[in-house]
Subunit: 402 residues, 2 copies
């Protein structure tokens, strides 16, 4: 177990907990459990239903506690987790007693299995909160990971506690990244760009969208990341905003749009690039240049303290001025982290300001049905003096020679 909370922005968590006057918060959604503890509980990541929690009291880090099923204690034993207290629920049969020459992970699992067992997740959570002296506390509960009725059931079991929804607080904490988070985001951005290159390497006349998608995802898994987003479309299909790869074959003059990104050590990428198969026509070139100018104008403005809404406005206006006079968007980007849509949302109505340490996807997509879709989407970090890109390519059109 590690003492440093590598992913969690602990200072910001305590600041926002103090503002909300929370005596404790409870993480329930998979993203927030991993974010606050380092613990990745497989079952809750691949299905809805399985429960794992982290109780984080304002009183101090020593009392932070993971609550998870007995069936997942091996993951607690094997992972780099910065929480020492673990409470379990449910039964699961594992054999084997401690041997003389046993590996440390197995030994740790044997120890974890010695803890008393609770009947179910909610009973364990109730006991965890009571044992930490939180029976009469004001507690922020991440409501997103609970199953319907569980919030109310928990309130019934803790009649003297004041439970309040706190998913918004977790999202606000996660908005400003730690160095370890930025390193992982940089890595998955890099993997995603390499995967685009791998896809373009098979972009020959007659290749299908599916063939490019295979090459894309193969590179992603080769780099130990997991495929998540894989929108790859040719020609008229590039204008479909969520285009899923089909048998459509590549022909000369096609635009190829990528809106893609995997997951690396739980962290997400979301990047868009455009290639043309052969020389782009004048309109594609001009529109793409306008979209790129929009993103670049955002980079010139973004600094800690600058209003998100102002950057939205400037970005859209730049695209209009530079060549797409009818350009309209609901947003020009969003935060990214352990969730694909972290705060802030880059909209006209945002009341947020940029802060150092935010990681953003800045994007200016343009979809023209029946013709083509164009899009630039980069990942950047907000630094004290402006943005630092996580990209190795600059967002220009790629040209693939037929």
């Amino acid at each position: 177990m590690f003492s440093s909370s590598a992913l969690l922005n602990e200072e910001r968590l305590h600041l926002l907990m103090a503002e909300a006057e929370f005596d404790a918060i409870v993480a329930t959604a998979p993203e927030n459990v991993t974010y606050t503890s380092g613990f990745w509980a497989l079952p809750q990541w691949i299905r809805r239903g399985p429960q794992a929690y982290v109780i984080w009291p304002a009183s101090g880090k020593d009392e932070v506690e993971i609550i998870t099923s007995t069936a997942t204690l091996d993951l607690v034993a094997d992972q780099r987790i910065w929480v020492n207290r673990v409470r379990r629920y449910g039964t699961f049969n594992v054999d084997g007693a401690a041997l003389d020459a046993m590996d440390s992970v197995s030994r740790r699992l044997i120890d974890l299995q010695k803890a008393p067992v609770h009947d179910d997740a909610l009973t364990a959570l109730t006991a965890g909160l009571m044992d930490t002296g939180l029976g009469r506390a004001r507690i922020g509960i991440d409501e997103i990971g609970l199953m319907p009725g569980q919030f109310e059931a928990l309130q019934e079991r803790l009649p003297n506690a004041e439970l309040l929804p706190a998913a918004g607080l977790f999202r606000a904490v996660r908005a400003v990244k730690t160095d370890e988070e930025i390193a992982r985001l940089a890595r998955i951005a890099e993997i995603t760009e390499r995967s685009i290159e791998a896809a373009l390497a098979v972009a020959l006349e007659g290749a299908s969208e599916l063939e490019l998608a295979r090459a894309f995802h193969a590179q992603t898994v080769q780099d130990d990341a997991f495929p998540v987003l894989g929108c790859i479309g040719f020609g008229e299909r590039s204008a479909l905003m969520n285009v899923q790869p089909s048998g459509r074959k590549l022909t000369r003059g096609d635009v190829i749009r990528f809106d893609v990104g995997g997951r690396y050590r739980h962290y997400r990428a979301d990047i868009a690039r455009i290639a043309t198969f052969g020389e782009p026509n004048r309109e594609v070139r001009q529109y793409h240049r306008a979209l790129l100018a929009g993103v670049e104008s955002a980079y010139e403005l973004i600094k800690p303290g600058v209003r998100v809404a102002d950057v939205f406005q400037a970005t859209v206006e730049t695209v209009r001025r530079e060549g797409i006079s009818h350009y309209r968007r609901n947003h020009v980007g969003h935060g990214i982290g352990i969730d694909g849509y972290d705060a802030p949302n880059l909209t006209a109505t945002s009341d947020e300001v940029f802060e150092a340490g935010m990681v953003l996807c800045v994007e200016t997509p343009y979809y023209e049905l029946g013709r083509w879709g164009l899009q630039v989407e980069d990942m950047v970090v907000v630094r004290p003096d402006g943005v630092e890109t996580l990209m190795t390519s600059d967002g220009d059109l790629f040209m693939v020679t037929p």
Copy 2:
């Protein structure tokens, strides 16, 4: 749009709706939305929060309706969906008017964008239910896909309707598969077995768990499936039930345990196989034979009408009799489909019986900490006269020669 409900077991749905006296049901979880309509709504599959629904009235299929965000209408236009009515909410900017020589998907999307737009998901759902004459109806709501508070908010907007949770009904319907579902499950089982072979092809002295995992997932994506479950462990790590691939290197005598499976056209696999690097020792061979005998005893018994609890009992007893006298399990398998854990659960306390068309993962894992984990897990279909396997290998130990 297609008229056949390829995935949905429509007859069973109507039977269970009649039993529950529901006038309509509403799918909200991604699995149930895709299952009832064929519509795969990307945002709700990769994150919690984005909403898409299917309203299915008992009165007839013509009134079935998809409710989704404007930003996902391209997926409606591009997919094989057997629902004709689509209601949308929220704004999303797409340019382009119908052109003379426009492709059919773009044309369909333009048509879909002509529908009136509702402010948000719940407003659209309320309008959908009211417009179908369900304002005073008894409605089963799949509660799992809703965000906290939405169930209650919907009840407030429909004060004369009786809303009841129905996630259990969806699970019960999904338990008996259609031919198309079985075909997809067979395909992902096959892909998963090929991926195990691909991993074993790189199982050389000194190869790491991560290297095998890369080869495994690369084959999965090569076959157009998505990685989901990838537990691959060597030696003492094979005893960790959820083992995630690490740098642990392969050495002679190691057990290699795979508990793995991807997703193909939304359908899941969950398969376990054991290999040894070099000759297995006597105990591994004997224990594995006992576990395999357990699974085989289940196959001899499973038929429509047979009690699940009886098969659980027989399976555990067989493993004990055949060589692991202390064998204990909470379950010896589960259903599989669009969810990795469909009904039934093969437990001692189940009150279910097998039915023709169920697809099952039958498994007898055994974990001995510090030494090795062994496991057989197959995918099989229940047919009128017994089980039909979806596997190409028979569950025997694979031996990799160093």
